[in-house]
Symmetry: C2
Subunit: 152 residues, 2 copies
DNA sequence: TGACATATGTTCGATGTCGAACTAACTTGT
DNA sequence: ACAAGTTAGTTCGACATCGAACATATGTCA
């Protein structure tokens, strides 16, 4: 086995993570270029999450959904509340906790942002085969669960 | 069309980006937990990139490969140089530019880090079908190029 | 050649991100 | 009922990240 072969023996899994990192970078930049001033991808993602999964979730539940530390979520939620896009209310049965709700402004903001991003992405997306997208999505969800369970 | 249906009409592409963000988060945390003290994923990624793609690349080339701003790459490279893992030399024909080379310590560090991560990931990876990994990788590379070209 | 445009890398300031330690509230076990 | 352990969220300090402005070098075009 040559020195070169040994050094370049890269697990396909590493390549996959590498590619995922690059796409994450690209999509993040793409989104943030279409969000107002100081808003950042996690802000939009949380609004989207609340719409998809349902309002009234706790900060910790949301942090786990995105696999970010809970203190990072504290910061993201503070930004959303400051902009009046979410409403933070006490948890009905656990006084340590809170629940997160969209405001009307939050709902409207999300729709506008999705529209803006979707419109600018429209010219390129037709190149992607919907079946392949669905297939990839299924695989990635599985990968996420595997990684999640390996996280001890 | 109900209000609910309109709000939940999420483009599968958005779901894909969302999933990619979560996996990126997970894999980043997994890697960084297995790197020494102040080292971060981009440090490892650059060492890996130099090994895979070849040494002697310029900072801007590396920044473009990872789709990060060039000033971010300046910072990452400074960290690697400070730790003696790379060697920064002048560009032979362009005095604005520089070229990046692995040191012996850098090569060794990368091998050790890959070993550590690979070992801890081994119990989990057998669950992933190699064909599906390869298929996903192909698709994602295509997606990256589409996004890259759409980035004006 | 000289003026203007472009490309490379750095600096600066602002802000996102995260680990560790902390407070308050809840749970468990005896 | 009480102590010990656990959980939810925050605070703090360190550092990564990035946009904008900058200095220097190169390319272009008359």
């Amino acid at each position: 086995m040559s020195e070169n072969a040994r050094n370049n023996a890269t697990n396909p899994m590493f390549e996959l993570f590498n590619e995922i990192g690059i796409i994450n970078q690209l999509s993040r930049a793409f989104f943030e270029a279409r969000l107002p001033d100081g808003m950042v991808l996690p802000h939009f993602s949380v609004l989207n999450h609340l719409t998809r999964v349902g309002e009234g979730r706790t900060p910790l539940q949301i942090a786990r959904a995105f696999q970010v530390p809970k203190n990072s979520m504290t910061h993201t939620l503070a930004g959303l509340e400051k902009r009046g896009l979410i409403d933070i209310r006490p948890h009905p049965s656990d006084r340590r906790s809170k629940t997160i709700w969209l405001t009307e402004a939050g709902r409207q903001f999300r729709l506008e942002a999705m529209g803006r991003v979707g419109r600018d992405m429209a010219p390129v997306l037709p190149k992607m085969d919907p079946d392949e997208v669905a297939q990839t999505l299924t695989f990635l969800r599985g990968l996420r669960e595997v990684l999640d369970s390996a996280r001890n």
